[in-house]
Symmetry: C2
Subunit: 257 residues, 2 copies
């Protein structure tokens, strides 16, 4: 709080995550008694030199949801600022990467994190499947971060140079479950042994750390039809389960049929 | 803060981590305007039922350094409390698991976390070597958490049933580097190809998030003789480095020769 208040300019980064319900720029302005400017994708990725320039003469602060260095963009901003001779202070915060411990899975039993991205009409990336497979082979859990699309332009608007954006999209656990099963369906055609099936039990998490947090332990098939409510969602594909982990997960059992 | 203040009893867990310099029980008591009791290993592991019993009639709070569910002990306490019918609220916090991003390595490029434990006279566990090797094979970074020994009894005191404890021990980056190289030395005898050598460059981190945080990027050999200062220390064995990660790490270059 003291760090924010001593700054002459405060930005709120608004495209790598979202704030919990009821918390917005206005509430933060009241809390800090400071004016706050929203910094969207364009500001952070394209105009970051302007922020660094400002920081030469005065203290500038960028508020981020989650750990401030979780996204490559932020690490890059810190690096460029220091390279330009600007001192950077980092105030760490809770992150989904460790907060997922709330489902009872042990953090030291997680392997590589994967990102599941929205499929476009002619682009169905599935490289995360192979990372899940590698983790599974070693008995490790996989945390899947689900895609966020903000300030995306339609091809039409992009071509016309219009700065109009599509509504934000947040991938749900149900979207992710459907994609994961589609990948496996295609593999069965090729006679490969999939590392998960529709009956594999996974952990769906929504709004971790918020008042209305929801955690459900159910099969991938059941998850396809499960409404976990508003964003953000995350998904865990468990590896080998320790009896204590399984007991904990069972408390989130949800029989949707 | 509000959560802590509404509790009739506040414990401070004191054996899975330590608080930063200048912050102690007394400072926290002043901050919260509350009396705080220290909960050591015995209290958490052996007397946890007493804490759960207390929580039936009144709000009890356990303060933890780092994410509250990073340690198995804490997850187990939450599970047992809920099983006994006690509501548990979790307030997430920054954790070394995500805070390591401050060295410039990307969090989604980390593999399984390992713990490096103190070797005893006749017990030299080295299973973490194989986990490092698996991560390396996939180009992933390995975060090594270093051992903490608090409230350990000497065999003499244990046999005499004396509740006297050895001074706390915290593994340094230098200790860890020496153990890692000893494992590799023994392997060379067996004509195995080690996944790191004494010239492998690693990241040493001390007191992450504290005012006197120190990060050094140097070879394992150099690290053996490097004093990183007071605890807690952590170590990262990088996998494949993205050019941006390498540039960031180079800003912590330390030529000790």
């Amino acid at each position: 709080m003291v760090t924010v208040q001593k700054c002459s300019r405060v930005y709120l980064e608004s495209y790598t995550s979202i704030m919990s319900f009821g918390l917005d720029k206005k509430k933060l302005e009241e809390f800090f008694n400071k004016e706050i400017e929203e910094a969207d994708r364009m500001t952070i990725e394209l105009d970051s030199d302007d922020i660094i320039d400002e920081a030469f003469d005065s203290d500038v602060c960028l508020l981020v949801v989650g750990d401030p260095l979780g996204a490559t963009t932020h690490a890059s901003l810190v690096f460029n600022a220091r390279k330009a001779g600007v001192d950077v202070e980092i105030v760490h915060n809770a992150s989904i990467i460790s907060a997922v411990g709330c489902c009872g899975l042990q953090l030291y039993r997680f392997g590589e994190i994967v990102s599941i991205v929205f499929w476009e009409e002619n682009w169905h990336p599935d490289s995360y499947y192979f990372k899940i497979a590698e983790n599974k082979k070693r008995g490790l859990h996989t945390l899947c971060l689900l895609d966020i699309k903000t300030k995306e332009q339609s091809i039409k608007n992009m071509m016309k140079g219009r700065k109009e954006f599509l509504p934000p999209r947040y991938m749900t656990c149900s979207d992710a479950a459907k994609q994961l099963l589609e990948i496996v369906d295609q593999m069965s055609d090729e006679n490969m042994e999939p590392v998960y099936t529709k009956s594999t039990e996974v952990v769906a998490l929504a709004r971790v750390g918020w008042d209305d947090q929801k955690i459900v332990f159910c099969s991938l098939e059941a998850l396809c039809d499960l409404d976990m409510g508003p964003p953000l969602h995350s998904l865990i594909i468990p590896g080998e389960l320790h009896p204590m982990e399984l007991d904990f997960l069972k408390s989130f059992y949800h029989n949707v049929f």
